[in-house]
């Protein structure tokens, strides 16, 4: 069912102080959509996510998440933040981290047996069941990211928002993370932020391009010209025109964007 918008932005503008970050943004994300938010660093991608999550309030315009104000729907969104500045000596196991995905305003007292069961199931879902008792700080970057995805999933969200999940992952481990993202539940809205188009998972249907303004494109319409307009002319574009088999068996050409560094 794709009739109800999961996220609806109408004339939204936002800035930090006098610096405008997003201007007059209009778009819808439908429930069960699988979208990727792309754009240059500092273009407003993370701000867009934080507005959806109700962590920031727009200067003007309206945002609705599943028909409600974002702050009223926080329990319905699973969030995987970009930077987790965790304390390496914080005494927390992988299972404890996942259990935090069950904690909300009404969480009092100890975790229930059901909470633990769901947390263990979520860890299993991301292939980290064996790490449940391991210290979070002792996990590899990829394992930590998987645990954070489990934490986002354990609250049975209606949408999952991932902010650059590949940012701190070794290139060699990105394929595993990609596989993991390809197998996220398809009955929830999936919103992935990335500035690395090569990382865009194969089943993405729409790309939301953010660079102060926002444009939505089906993946198949994404051309080198559009990417160049988005990221700026100093970027090197590499069109692979390779096919990525999607979960549904369709093929979408993807475009890689390299931000100017030598290959």
């Amino acid at each position: 069912m794709k009739s109800q918008p999961a996220v609806c932005f109408q004339g939204v503008s936002f800035g930090y102080g006098s610096e405008a970050v997003l201007t007059d943004v209009d778009f819808d994300i439908l429930a069960s959509d699988n979208v990727c938010v792309v754009g240059p660093n500092g273009g407003g991608k993370t701000t867009l996510l934080k507005l959806m999550l109700g962590l920031l309030k727009p200067d003007s315009g309206h945002i609705r998440v599943f028909g409600q104000q974002p702050e009223k729907m926080q329990g319905a969104l699973g969030y995987v933040p970009q930077h987790m500045h965790f304390d390496p000596v914080f005494p927390v196991r992988a299972l404890d981290v996942v259990l935090m995905g069950r904690v909300g305003r009404g969480s009092f007292g100890f975790a229930t047996r059901e909470d633990r069961k769901l947390a263990e199931a979520a860890l299993d879902q991301v292939g980290q069941a064996a790490q449940a008792q391991a210290q979070f700080s002792e996990l590899s970057g990829g394992q930590r990211q998987a645990v954070l995805i489990a934490r986002a999933l354990v609250g049975a969200p209606r949408a999952i928002l991932l902010d650059e999940p590949d940012a701190h992952i070794d290139p060699g481990r990105r394929d595993k993370l990609k596989q993991l993202l390809d197998f996220l539940p398809t009955d929830i809205t999936r919103i992935l932020v990335s500035h690395n188009m090569d990382f865009v998972v194969s089943s993405v249907e729409k790309v939301i391009c953010v660079h102060r303004h926002v444009h939505v494109h089906p993946t198949s319409e994404l051309t080198a010209e559009r990417i160049r307009n988005l990221f700026g002319s100093d970027l090197r574009l590499v069109r692979h025109d390779r096919d990525h088999p999607s979960a549904a068996g369709h093929h979408h050409p993807l475009v890689d964007v390299d931000q100017g560094g030598p290959h």
């Binding site: 962590l55 005494p91 404890d96 305003r105 609250g155």
Partner: protein, 278 residues
């Protein structure tokens, strides 16, 4: 050793028994709250709150003597002052662009300055040292009941809110995305710190109480990786420090508060050496 136990069980001599009981009761909230304080790395903030207690103690002594406010014990003054200090620091820290360290410094020295001036202007002899470093001769039976009530309150509140607090301390942004408001949860920890500090101020004083709040959890963190075990171990270490410290103070004829603290420091030193050796 025998003399120590005889004195503890002597029905005519209550000060040592009261000190031990107060230390044991206070060890529980100190270990529990201290564990949250240490993992959040806000020991300096707890120290400011503890030191500010002197302002409340001084003002209540002044009010009792000069204004006839007999209903306000030093304990009550310390409570009002520390909770107000905790809220002040918490609110300032929550405002963008404000210098949290300046607020902490102001509360820390401001509370002490007010306390010393108030004590100086109070008729009769009041030794500030007793409040700074503790004096078991000042303990009364009623302190035990109040400390017991505080301990139950602090531990009860933490049992209710510990998951929210733990979540906010570990990852504030994710917690906020789950609908948890960071500032009130952080303020709760600061107020619990204030209540905890007040519980043992009369035994070890405003200066030394911070050591019992922070050293035992730091020792426990070096050994245990699960937060629940860290809390239990911190409570256990506190119980040990209080018992051993009071025994040492009796045997060697030393002030009780500093003896307790030196035992805690000795344990911490051993932990550091063992960590270096491994």
């Amino acid at each position: 050793m025998g003399g120590f136990f005889e004195l503890l069980t002597d029905p005519d001599v209550s000060f040592l028994r009261n000190a031990l009981l107060l230390g044991l009761v206070g060890s529980i909230p100190l270990g529990v709250v201290g564990s949250f304080v240490v993992v959040r790395r806000i020991s300096y903030l707890a120290a400011a709150v503890a030191h500010s207690a002197l302002g409340g103690i001084g003002l209540s002594l002044f009010a009792r003597t000069e204004l006839g406010w007999d209903w306000l014990p030093p304990f009550g003054g310390a409570l009002i002052f520390t909770v107000a200090s905790a809220l002040l620091i918490g609110v300032i820290a929550g405002q963008k662009g404000q210098r949290e360290d300046a607020a902490i410094g102001t509360v820390w020295v401001g509370g002490m300055a007010i306390g010393i001036i108030a004590i100086a202007k109070t008729a009769g002899y009041n030794d500030p040292m007793a409040y700074l470093f503790g004096d078991i001769l000042l303990l009364r039976q009623s302190d035990l009941w109040v400390a017991g009530g505080f301990a139950a309150l602090v531990v009860g509140l933490l049992v209710i809110w510990h998951r929210q607090l733990f979540s906010v301390l570990f990852d504030p942004e994710f917690a906020a995305a789950r609908g948890l408001r960071n500032d009130p949860v952080y303020l709760l920890l600061l107020v619990l710190t204030a209540l905890t500090v007040v519980t043992l101020v009369s035994l070890v004083g405003v200066v030394l109480v911070v050591a019992l709040l922070t050293l035992p959890p730091a020792i426990a963190l070096a050994r245990f990786k699960r937060f629940g075990w860290v809390i239990l171990a911190a409570v256990g270490i506190n119980l040990l420090c209080v018992s051993l410290g009071l025994w040492l103070s009796y045997v060697l004829d030393l002030p009780a508060g500093p003896s307790i603290i030196l035992v805690a420091i000795a344990f911490y030193g051993v932990t550091l050496c063992r960590r270096k050796a491994s």
